[in-house]
Amino acid sequence: MNFWDLILNPFVTVITLLYSVFGNSAVLAIILFTILVRLIMYPLNAQQMRSSKAMQDLQPEMKKLQDKYKNDREKLAQEQMRLYREHGVNPVGGCLPLLIQFPIWIGLYQAINHALAATPLQLIDLSGRFLVGGLDRLVPLNNVFMNIDLTQPPTANPVYALALPVLVLVTSWLQSKMITPPAQPTEDGKPNQAQAMTQSMTTVMPIMMGMFSLSFSVGLSIYFIVSNVISIVQYSRQKDFKWNKVLTFGSGAAAAQPAPKSKLEAGMSTGRLDRPKAKKVKADSVSLMPAEAEADGEVEKPPVVSAKAETNGAKSSAPKPKAPRAKKATK
């Protein structure tokens, strides 16, 4: 028994049990199993979301530090660490839950493949995977739903099965839009390349997922859709989530995003950063307080994107920019 068997065998067993309990419906078994696994992983997922959000919220401060210490890497590293520490943020806190979840996602995916057993090798591989006696009699699962063979790709099924890759694409896109912050230009007005790349991924990845779904079995498309919908529901339940942020396109997307306030002024909105401790920041601990910033000849500027949004005439809930550079950008 290898590592994957430890994950796969219980998964395959549970899918088959669900199949037997819920009227021998493979579709229902896949949906319920996906929900079940996602519920079990909820604490990890929530932690990852909190961590990711906290990192996003710290970006304005982080950027200022980068600008201030652009010639002193060591000092920059120290200040960044101090910033993380003071706000109770672990910079790699989002990675660990992701790494733990990843084998489970693969296991989920593979379990569905195994349970449906479309090919001889998959069926032979199913032997010995059941941890509960008596499930042998259910093999192979009934893999046809509404005349759609769940083991075959949509292209090998009735034409209406093509709706599934479309749903995969739409839900993947929605999910990526929700988790990806809008691209904001740098202070000198140039596009932020890293963010732009992330933004482009929100378009490319869903298209890729849609394309994959055309060649994967329909059963996996159902898994993708359910999984995406669960993520969408999870993200939409975040405190400061607004649908208009997600459903705004182009540069307006950035405009629709409220200008991030300094968390030192506004406090954190979610997760660990909501704790009072996170607000306890010594005035002289980080060179971000207005007085010090002014002393350095710097004025705290709202993001240029707000100004840019005005230029574009896009409706925005963001406060009007007051910083000189931002005003300049609007002229």
């Binding site: 660490m81 995916y109 090919t119 001889p120 032997s127 042998d136 060649s215």
Partner: protein, 405 residues
């Protein structure tokens, strides 16, 4: 620090992408195992014995004497002249597109093979030229579903099991559907024809008996687990024998009643073999069974032989049984008690091929058309570089190996 975190995230993302590609990608081509069989071919006054291999999108023919690919013959039944590299054209047929061959091609005339790909494309292949007689990829009209089972020919009809929950009879002249027998799940094994009745199994747990001419159902019998093999008919008892995923081996009368049954440790995939009133079968956790067919399937012996599945039918010959397993090994067993035989130096007769073996084991005997000095056992692995390996039946010495080029 921040750049370092970003870099770590980038590396992490790359690793995740790799894992996704490796673990979540669609199943690779090898979703089945090589289908191997023996076939003869007459060209002029020459008769040749051949091993046919159908695997992935390829069908090749190998000489069982030396394990070399068969050289194509011209109209005069002589080999074609070699090219500038000193190589002669060899028998190698490739399906178009991503066609997979799960089933063994069937010889429908001396010079023609019929191969059916997983995606239900039919190929009539000329044995002499290794080319397709009809347009490549001709689909079976008005049918859906995939083909895993071997085709069986009976006069003007060809019988073909499909994943689309049926067994179809095709007219062999134009491949149109003569009749269809519906099942509740796929049919993955070749039917057995006996006195104008077809006996076939389905993954839906039923053994079916239908009229071979009309397809009319005579009876069906629920055996409690998926069935993936062709039933075996034993003339002595006049009964059918079959293993199932219900972890049982059944003895069934020709009118559809269970006569005897024997509990196995795991699923039985392959068709059993019966020699001298003893049935030999294997299961998917590596057990081999010997049961007395003259005594209500009483256990003669039962041995845990392999570490993983033994899918194929045990090869029973003389005092020896040869089984090949998914643990990469071929085992020579004592037919009397199922123990592993030893060679003259006391070493166990077990050969490790380093790749999974799921295909049936073939036996080739010396004869007029086969110039070998002793019987060979031929096994097939999932690794293309050891797609066929021949051993001496007696000593387990390797005779040759063939790699799919």
């Amino acid at each position: 620090m921040w750049k370092s975190v970003a870099r770590h995230r980038l590396v992490g993302a790359a690793i995740l992408c790799l894992l996704i590609a490796a673990g979540c990608g669609p199943a690779p081509l090898g979703t089945g195992w090589p289908a191997i069989s023996l076939t003869t071919y007459e060209c002029g006054d020459q008769i040749s014995e051949n091993v046919l291999i159908a695997y992935n999108d390829r069908i090749v023919v190998v000489n069982p004497v030396d394990g070399k690919a068969r050289v194509l013959l011209n109209q005069e039944c002589s080999p074609y002249p070699t090219n500038a590299d000193g190589k002669a054209p060899v028998w190698d047929f490739r399906g178009s597109g991503p066609n997979l061959f799960f089933s063994t091609p069937v010889k429908i005339s001396n010079s023609t093979l019929l191969a059916v790909a997983y995606n239900q494309q039919l190929y009539e292949i000329d044995f002499q030229t290794a080319g397709s007689n009809k347009p490549i990829g001709q689909p079976i009209p008005n049918l859906t579903g995939h083909t895993v089972a071997d085709v069986m020919q009976n006069g003007d009809l060809l019988y073909l099991g499909l994943s689309a929950k049926n067994l179809v009879a095709l007219n062999s002249d134009d491949y149109t559907v003569a009749w269809t027998a519906e099942t509740e799940h796929g049919v993955w094994a070749k039917p057995l024809l006996l006195d104008a009745t077809l006996y076939f199994t389905s993954l839906d747990h039923f053994l079916y008996a239908t009229d071979a001419e009309t397809g009319d159902l005579q009876w069906k019998l629920d055996l409690g687990g998926a069935l993936t093999s062709t039933p075996l008919y034993d003339e002595t008892t006049g009964h059918l024998f079959i293993g199932s995923f219900a972890r049982k081996i059944f003895e069934i009368s020709l009118d559809g009643a269970i006569v005897n049954q024997y509990d196995t440790a795991d699923w039985v995939w392959g068709t059993p073999a019966i020699v001298d009133d003893t049935l030999y079968a294997a299961d998917l956790v590596g057990n081999v069974y010997a049961l007395d067919t003259s005594d209500n399937l009483a256990e003669v012996w039962r041995q845990k032989v392999a570490g993983r599945a033994i899918r194929g039918t045990p090869l029973v010959t003389g005092d020896t049984i040869v089984v090949a397993a998914r643990d990469n090994k071929v085992y020579w067993l004592n037919r009397a008690d199922g123990s592993i035989l030893n060679d003259s130096e006391g070493q166990p007769l077990v050969r490790d091929l380093g790749a999974e073996i799921l295909s049936d084991v073939l036996l080739v005997q010396p004869g007029e058309t086969l110039d070998i000095d002793e019987p060979y056992v031929i096994v097939s692995t999932l690794a293309p570089d050891k797609i066929l390996v021949a051993y001496s039946l007696r000593t387990a010495e390797q005779k040759w190996a063939y790699a799919l080029q």
